[in-house]
Amino acid sequence: MTEQLTPAPLKMAARNVNVFYGEKQAIKNVSIDIDNDHVIAFIGPSGCGKSTFLRTLNRMNDTVAGARVEGDITLDGENIYDPSMDVVQLRARVGMVFQKPNPFPKSIYDNIAYGPRIHGLASSKADLDVIVESSLRRAGLWEEVKDRLKDSGTALSGGQQQRLCIGRAIAVEPEVILMDEPCSALDPIATAKIEELIHELRGRYAIAIVTHNMQQAARVSQRTAFFHLGTLVEYGVTSEIFTNPREDRTKDYITGRYG
């Protein structure tokens, strides 16, 4: 099975990563690869560290007081925890979509345009318009909002807000997109739209998604990593994990024995 795991060029690699919150160790010795061609899903019971691990990949854990990361995480071979790594640029390259849709209380247009503006990605207003439209199209939201780009992003429905957040993330042309339970606050129809979107984005961006929903992991991902109590229990091809897990703990979790 392992030979199937590394056919595509590596985008991000984590090696022997440990994360501590003060004294408490939240992640124990986790190694994982992320590439462009395969969506990777992190599953596991609440508090298993999957979100923590996801947030170490773009150093969002830096904002948590007392958080400490050991081990190597590389983006295109560069260690992202190296002092020479600019964390602001890293977060532009490794975008993030959060559990709760969190559009800025600004217009739809400004929500998308904010990232390109602060990174200087557009040279003119027309340029910016193009970026906004293409980002919204790619996020599958353009047809719904093209006539009301001036409306507040917070006036959209939950599912639309989440797609707006995805559009906002891809507007800065990241290389990796991290999604932290992006559908947990959405209804099944909105969820289906997001999952469809993930399928379309795959290949262009490396995508890692944390989810509580096993069916979702099975539907959207090609690789699955099962976390339990801070350790990576099993990591492999999604279909294998779901049909023929090697570990008993994985099997128990997938079959709903706990979690």
Partner: protein
């Protein structure tokens, strides 16, 4: 797993009697307590509204007459002997000098004596000649005519007109009124003049301008400093013993009696830094010390109330911490910060004690031209007038209070307008 409670304890419990007597009584008690609470709440609202209404009505009742004055009609039959004035000169460039050297006070006194009989000079304000001067300046042609000019009455007559005069003044006023030589008019002097020893000549403009300048200095210093301090403490400072200590100190600072700030201003700004005494600059700096902690506390709470998800969102697409703060946190916290600023500024505007310490209680008869000129402020002016022996200052005091309240109202309205403008809903 074994539990300390026997497994069958639930089975042994008698079913709850939801319709029983005890239950009905409990429900009745609950309703009664709710009703009590509602009534008490309503009563406190009515009480505070009543206090406010009483304050406003009594102030208006006392103060509205401060905006009016009694005027006495005096007939001038120009040309009058002691006055040497050539109407043609008034069109020239030396008009002011000509007017100044025209001996108008004597002319006015003489005309008053002639028109009002013996003692007429005492019935008009000692500044009445200014009104004559203004009339001549406005229309020089009256120098060839006989005109009736209405001049401000003296304090005694004015008091008599308002029903508080001495018997002799009341009699004099009654005589004037009988002859139709007295009238009530709007007291424009009150809005344009500054402090004076004679109640008929006092005005609020000097104190108003002093308050305005002091407020400007206060806000210019305390708002940026307070907001930056709040932002730094909330967004950047690490949580440790030092920041805890700073937080406690700031909270204590907000509770320090204002007179202490006055002493501090006296010691530091006047004695140590040798800044000008009685100036809005020093007053504003002292008030800024007082206002800043309020802004910091309100600002921190407002910043804390900005949802962390917004910070995450901005950080997540690669905004730098400064961009997060200035593009997202500050705009969202601004309405709350404004509220704190309103409270702080309103407190500073009504503050008297610290300004007494730095010399803003001096008698200042000219409005300040800048922040370094000697000035007084509205509450100090009110305090000074309330201390005057002359009864005619009572209505001036009330009138000044009305002006102060209007000033406060205006300032709050601006702040509330700004707050609503910046308020974002999501």
């Amino acid at each position: 797993m074994t539990s300390p409670v026997p497994a069958d304890s639930f089975a042994k419990r008698t079913p709850t009697d939801w319709k029983g007597q005890a239950m009905q009584k409990r429900i009745a008690r609950r309703y009664a307590s709710e009703k009590r609470f509602r009534l008490l709440g309503l009563a406190s609202i009515v009480l505070s509204a009543g206090f406010l209404a009483f304050l406003l009505i009594s102030m208006l009742g006392n103060g509205i007459s401060g905006f009016t004055r009694t005027e006495v009609g005096v007939k001038f039959t120009f040309p009058i002997a002691p006055m040497v004035i050539d109407p043609a000169m008034l069109k020239g460039p030396q008009a002011e000098q000509v007017l100044a050297s025209a001996n108008l006070p004597a002319v006015t006194a003489q005309a008053a004596d002639q028109t009002l009989g013996k003692g007429g000079e005492a019935m008009i304000s000692s500044n009445a000649w200014l009104t004559v001067r203004d009339a001549i300046r406005k229309d020089p042609s009256i120098l060839q005519q006989t005109v009736m000019l209405y001049l401000p009455a003296s304090a005694d007559i004015d008091l008599a007109a308002k029903g508080h005069g001495s018997p002799s003044a009341e009699a004099a006023y009654a005589r004037l009124k009988e002859k139709g030589q007295a009238r009530r008019a709007f007291n424009s002097t009150f809005l344009t003049a500054s402090d004076a020893t004679d109640a008929t000549q006092v005005g609020i403009w000097g104190a108003f301008k002093g308050s305005l300048l002091t407020m400007l200095v206060t806000l210019a210093l305390s708002f940026p400093v307070g907001v930056l301090a709040a932002l730094y403490l909330e967004e950047y400072a690490p949580r440790n013993r030092w920041t805890d200590m700073i937080e406690v100190s700031i909270n204590n600072l907000a509770a320090v009696p204002s007179i202490i700030f006055g002493l501090l201003g006296l010691a530091v700004f006047l004695n140590l830094m040798n800044l000008p005494r009685s100036a809005p600059l020093v007053g504003g700096m002292t008030m800024a010390l007082m206002t800043m902690p309020v802004i910091v506390i309100a600002g921190r709470n407002a910043i804390k109330a900005v949802p962390p998800s917004i910070r995450d969102a901005a950080l997540g697409i690669g905004a730098s911490p400064v961009q997060v703060v200035f593009h997202h946190v500050l705009p969202l916290a601004l309405p709350g910060i404004m509220t704190g600023t309103i409270i702080g500024a309103a407190r500073a505007l009504g503050e008297t004690a610290p300004l007494l310490m730095i010399g803003m209680r001096a008698f200042i008869a000219t409005p300040p031209g800048g922040v370094t000129d000697p000035a007084t402020v509205l509450p100090v002016q009110i305090f000074l007038w309330s201390d005057e022996i002359s009864k005619s200052f009572v209505e001036k005091t009330s009138a000044a209070i009305i002006v102060l309240l209007l000033f406060l109202l205006g300032m709050n309205s601006i702040a509330i307008y700004l707050r609503n403008k910046f308020e974002k809903r999501w």
